[in-house]
Symmetry: none
Subunit: 234 residues, 4 copies
DNA sequence: GATGAATGAGGATTCATTCAT
DNA sequence: TATGAATGAATCCTCATTCAT
């Protein structure tokens, strides 16, 4: 784990050499994570080999293990960085939403951003489909998934403050599942076709959430969407 | 082997191929497929090892290879049997639909059946998530997925006979993707919660398809669903 | 080993049933040996698998082992049959030679016959190159080689009755080695080129033996070949 | 790997490829090749197993595969080294011959050297008898054989500059075949007997080539050998 | 830190051979 | 007899991981 310096490095020269070391270390780590991203998205997480990652990074296997105790750790750190970058780049997507704004617009914006981000970072998909079995995920491996899911849950929750938590969770899980399914299809296509799929993903999620959220959103009359049944899409 | 006919094989079922398979063999095959199903759904397809399957089946590795040339072959045969069984059990789900019947009912019936089938056969899920990378799938490995997808496409197509093929395909892909995503969540839960998810899956797919199909279905006025916006679900 | 009937079959019905059984057995054996010949010459002895032989013969592995205790036994029996057939077909080649006849003619005849026989029976070559190591040959595996070598030795010996046995043996070994080397090249070519190689093989062996035999052959003047130095060949 | 230069590698031999190989690695490679040589000559190439080679070298299978991707690669590298060593040791044998020198002497010298070399390196034989089937040889596996054969061809060609290429090739193939056959016998014997076989090999090849080369060699009268029919050998 | 070497268990697959039917 | 099933050791090869330098 590329955490902070191991033991006694604060006292002697808290700036000079450690800096340089850390700088080199950071570069290595970035190299390795980039390589991991490439390999994970090329072969899938399960089939990716640490040797292949080291090779892709242009370093020796030993070096890889100097920074990451195992394959899992790479995935975890990679997830962490992705989340971080998402937050940096699309901070607003993580910010509280204006629940009075039209759902369609809000959703479209969020989904657009995320899809675009994930298309630029195809690892994302690989990381979320890590160990293949539904339900079994190594302890922390699904940090990525959990983080996003909880964010989705917050969003939903802010729309449905009075709904039972189980229902909120379920709705969030569903929404996130739809997103992942859509992402897979988006990634599997290119150009105009990809765009068409992007549109469909937005449609799907909106149509799923609209009847749930449109009705119960605080300060809404519960009839908005029914009378104006979503702008003709795509 | 053009030998003499063994015993009594002409009269009862003239179905058998030239391959003379003993009853024991058939049993073994079933055993092996069961074992494969178990292992696939436990560890995922990629991580499943033929040795583990043999062990699970209580036979030696050699025996497995007497019947299946490799892991892929197990997956393919398993897919084949599942498709067959699906057809046997839910024949109607494969039959032409009555496009004038309310979409909601039709969909609910189909989705219910399939979910129920897949819950009884969790391999299904593992088989459809074979090789981890989106887009890469060994030629015949995805027989299962292809079969189902094409069935979905037919269904959609019968509702939208005049829609451009690309759109039909896209809609089918989306619908199938939603189904898979839903299935994953359904499998991840149990009891009442599972039921709730089943309901959500039906909602999602209906809401996605209704605006597309409800309007354009042949012989429909294109307003039915809009004016009566789906029975309050769940 | 496809020997005669096992134990008590002479007394009860010494003609009827045993005959039929033996007849069928003989057919099986021939089938198996043919298959072995094919496989041996296709893949080489070492790489040949008994399963492949059984398959080629259109029988089950079990059946093969009913007649031959192991791969070796197939090779041995095959060798035996080949020797037998050679004797049948080219009896004269095995008969005592006329040592007063011109060496060239005698040799050409013998070599021609054998090459022709071996081209029709490519197993020959495979059998003689069985286990790959010079010197190591499973006990009886090289029956073929030994038989032929001893025949060659007899021939040489009849030309050089007074030469020391070691020299005779050595000359025989050499001659046989030359033959095998030539055979390999002959088999590796076809048509006119093969013919050219056949000619070369005859040349080689003649030129090797002529100085040795031509001089010392009993009843010769020891000058014959020197004065008429072999017809200009090919 | 474009890292910093390790220690002192600029000054002595600037020969090394970018692949930074540690001394230990080189030693291992030598070890492995030695082991391969031993195993190949003990069991033959086909029957040799990589595990056996690793065991013989005292390392784990994985280590073998760190340096050689498969059995073939071992054979190829071994061949390469043998050829190299041959060139080093018997450089003259590869140098252009003096076609006016007596054939007998030239041949004897060459054959003597090669036989002696091959007796010290018995792998040679195993490598040349790779896959058992005449004609089938993996692309590069027969580097050894091809190299030698082409050298033989050059030699023959320098004696017969005006002969048709096909004939030169054929003569070379034959000569090489004779050599291999002789080598097998030489290896199969020891001490005085081996020496006797060495002599016979020289005789064989000389007698085969003399009538062909003696006549046509450039600057020869075409009668030399006939009138002085080879010194009484052995 | 970095490297390449080393490991050894494990995976897919084959094969000679034996067994139950 | 004949068959197909069964075996299990052996093959080649890979990989996560550790070690010496």
């Amino acid at each position: 784990m590329p955490e902070q310096s191991p033991e006694q490095e604060q006292s002697p020269e808290p700036e000079q050499k450690p800096r340089r070391r850390q700088a080199r270390g950071e570069r290595r780590i970035a190299q390795l994570l980039d390589a991991a991203a490439t390999v994970f998205s090329t072969t899938g997480y399960t089939a990716a080999s640490t040797n292949a990652i080291a090779r892709e990074a242009g370093v020796s296997p030993g070096t890889l293990y100097q920074f990451f105790p195992n394959k899992e750790a790479l995935a975890i750190e990679l997830s962490g960085r992705l989340i971080h970058e998402m937050r940096e780049t699309y901070g607003e997507a993580f910010a509280p939403v204006d629940v009075t704004a039209p759902l369609r617009e809000t959703l479209d914006a969020v989904v657009d951003r995320f899809l675009s981000f994930n298309c630029q970072h195809p690892v994302f998909f690989a990381l979320m489909h890590g160990p293949d079995v539904p339900g079994r995920m190594a302890e922390e491996h699904d940090a990525l998934e959990r983080t996003l899911r909880s964010r989705v849950e917050e969003l939903i929750s802010s729309y449905l403050p009075s709904a039972p938590p189980a229902e909120v969770t379920r709705t969030a899980q569903m929404s996130f599942g739809l997103y992942k399914a859509g992402l897979e299809l988006v990634l599997a296509h290119e150009g105009a076709e990809r765009e068409a799929y992007v549109q469909e993903v937005k449609n799907v999620i909106f149509r799923y959430l609209d009847p749930v959220i449109g009705d119960r959103a605080p300060g809404r009359a519960g009839l908005a969407t029914a009378s104006a049944p979503a702008p003709r899409e795509a």
